[in-house]
């Protein structure tokens, strides 16, 4: 599925005691564009990312992906949007250690994402193969960090999402592994025409993004890498 445009306006996400964690007056992302989000620790980067995924119940304002405003949708509709349109990649992979690479990558087949179980399994297998995971029948508890993150990427792409949201995807990897993972992620997103939003401190990853957004004290601004 090709990327979806994002339009955010008057977004605020509050935390305990009504404290504002993130405030964004306006953010627009074109379909297929890749955006890097950076900022100091605790500034609200991940909060923003989870809000864009429809996972922040305290989000107010507008988060419109195509025609769907996630803030206005109910919880079950937001879940449906995620399983049909969003692929998520986490810093520490979040895999089911006892499942095989194929079982993890095709996790969505268990709960019926768009396209049906068979197509999810087939796509998961294809992405794993493309990412160089040969033994897909092996349980992931014996995998290296790099292999695990590749399985996590395969899981994020198995439902052929329009949007990939990645939260510090290279933070748990060594440099060489991180570089390979960045190549894989960016290539897969670009060739699929998918919108990619990655929260990261990793300069190499941020350099590969079309655009940067900086989050400081919960506020967004267009950013640029220092020379």
């Amino acid at each position: 599925m090709r990327g979806l445009p994002l339009e955010v306006s008057n977004l605020s996400v509050t935390g305990a005691g009504g404290r504002v964690l993130v405030r964004a007056e306006s953010l627009t992302i074109a379909p297929g564009e890749s955006i890097g989000i950076r900022g100091p620790s605790g500034a609200g980067k991940s909060t923003l990312l989870y809000a864009l995924a429809g996972l922040q119940p305290t989000a107010r304002g507008v988060i419109r992906w195509g025609a769907a405003d996630l803030v206005a949708l109910g919880e079950s509709e937001r879940a449906r949007f995620r399983r049909d349109h969003i692929g998520l990649v986490f810093q520490d992979f979040l895999l089911f250690e006892e499942l095989t690479a194929q079982g993890n990558a095709a996790l969505a087949a268990a709960f019926g994402a768009r396209g049906g179980a068979a197509s999810i399994r087939s796509r998961a297998g294809a992405v794993l193969e493309r990412l160089g995971i040969g033994d897909t029948a092996r349980t992931v508890d014996s995998f290296s960090g790099g292999e695990r993150q590749r399985v996590a990427i395969a899981r994020a792409l198995a439902n052929d999402p329009a949007i990939i949201l990645a939260d510090e995807p290279t933070a748990s990897l060594d440099r060489d592994t991180a570089d390979r993972m960045i190549d894989d992620l960016v290539d897969l997103a670009r060739t699929g025409g998918k919108t990619l939003i990655a929260v990261s401190h990793d300069r190499t990853l941020l350099e590969r993004m079309d655009r940067l957004v900086e989050v400081i004290d919960g506020r967004l601004r267009e950013g640029a890498l220092d020379a």
Binding site: R82, R83, L94, F96
Partner: protein, 440 residues
């Protein structure tokens, strides 16, 4: 209940009724399972969670198994004991004795528990034996023993009535011979001298010279009589220095008829009539101011009815134990779902429907509960078997405690109830904050 349903129910065989009750008890669990898992395949993830926390899960399963096993074991054991005591008494149609406590006489005559009781005289015995409905009237004279085995004086007819053909050897034909019960560990051909009395107070020299040889062995009866040594009643009288029941010209005779004038007395007479109605007539005839007649089976029924209250208390205790364990298990399940809350949060972040996550948690709990129940069934069966053997060893009453429909019904009810209660941790898991759990 509408009459048509009642008629239909009563028209079913007991087995069909039990199967139907089982299905009805299981129905809530099965229906809940079908509704919860409809449209989803949570089993791969459930298997993953079971393996991930396998040791904790094993503890939970063991806890449930112990609770279920306790309930199953108690009910099976109680029924086995009831059936065992009834089986041991079934050959004793009617006991006639001197007036007193029926229960004391029941224990003394059927279960061979020593007791001092007054004797019936020869006239009474004659009256019993001459009744036209009586086909067997056997004096039962107890009070002696050998190495812990009660030595009981009776007649060959009673032995044949009690155990049919001998398992080996031959019937005693004179005093100085004995037939051993099937569990008496004295070989055929061995001789012994009975002691006067039983237990620690037995006088071993009291009957010196009354050497007796084992000449035969009864087939097993599943009653305390398997550990008794049976001798001619004449021998018991003789070793106590009494007349031997027969006039001097028939001094060597064994068994009836006895001569009233030479009948020294017997604690009890086991009476058998061929027709069932005749037993009731005999009971009526011998319930007098000089004699007491009772059906051991009826006394036992009253005793069981009395024990029924205890049984209800035991059953209640079993249920209370299971409820407590269930409450513990459910609390534990809530704690366990916190252990894998990050995984559940991941599923929800990936867009899994709430009902799918609910199904994962419920199926996980259901697997632990069902596994524990099945293991508990086995544990209860094994425990009941072990306890039965021990009771049989100690009382000589053959107790067979096997699983029967009540145990299956108990487990089906337990499983259904706990699976319904397992909806609670599943609901609680859904209310957990996704982002906070993802970041844990």
């Amino acid at each position: 209940m509408p009459e048509i349903l009642l008629d239909g129910w009563q028209g079913l065989s007991p087995t069909a009724q039990d199967i139907l009750i089982l299905l009805l008890l299981l129905a809530p669990a099965v229906l809940t399972g079908l509704v919860v898992t409809f449209g989803y395949r949570p089993f791969l993830l459930v298997r993953s969670l079971l393996w991930r926390y396998r040791w904790t899960n094993l503890v939970f399963v063991a806890l449930i198994a112990v609770s279920v096993g306790l309930g199953v074991g108690l009910t099976a054991q109680e029924r086995g004991l009831r059936q065992g005591t009834a089986r041991a008494a079934e050959k004793f149609d009617l006991i006639v004795s001197a007036p007193g406590s029926e229960i004391t006489m029941l224990f003394a005559s059927v279960y061979l528990q020593p007791s001092d009781v007054p004797l019936l005289d020869g006239e009474t015995y004659e009256k019993i034996v001459s009744n036209e409905n009586v086909s067997l009237a056997a004096p039962i004279a107890y009070g002696d023993s050998f190495e812990g085995y009660p030595v009981v004086g009776t007649t060959p007819g009673f032995i044949a009535h009690l155990s049919g053909d001998l398992a080996e050897g031959e019937m005693f034909s004179r005093t100085g011979q004995a037939v051993a019960g099937s569990a008496v560990e004295v070989p055929l051909g061995a001789s012994f001298t009975p002691a006067h009395g039983v237990g620690d107070g037995a006088e071993h020299e009291a009957h010196a010279g009354a050497e007796t040889v084992i000449v035969g062995r009864m087939a097993a009866t599943g009653s305390p009589w398997d550990k008794a040594i049976l001798v001619p009643v004449e021998a018991v009288w003789e070793v106590h220095g009494l007349a031997n029941g027969h006039a001097p010209e028939r001094a060597g005779q064994i068994g009836p008829p006895f001569d009233t004038d030479y009948f020294p007395g017997t604690p009890a007479v086991m009476v058998h009539a061929d027709a069932l109605w005749a037993n009731y007539a005999l009971k009526s005839d011998f319930t007098t101011d000089k004699t007491m007649a009772f059906f051991p089976g009826a006394v036992l029924s009253r005793l069981h009815a009395l024990m029924g209250d205890v049984r209800q208390i035991m059953s209640l205790m079993a249920v209370v134990t299971q409820v407590l364990v269930t409450a513990g298990v459910l609390t534990g399940l809530v704690v366990l779902t916190r252990l894998f809350s990050r995984r559940l949060a991941l599923l929800r972040a990936l867009g899994a429907p709430r009902r799918f996550v609910f199904a994962v948690v419920w199926c996980y709990a259901a697997t632990l509960i069902a596994g524990g129940a099945v293991l508990g069934l086995g544990a209860g069966f094994a425990a009941a078997g072990l306890i039965s053997r021990e009771i049989s060893r100690r009382t000589d009453i053959l107790v067979r405690a096997g699983l029967a429909w009540p145990e299956f019904h108990l487990i089906a009810g337990f499983v259904s109830l706990t699976l319904l209660l397992a909806l609670t941790p599943a609901f609680l898991a859904l209310n957990r904050p996704v982002i906070a759990d993802l970041r844990n």
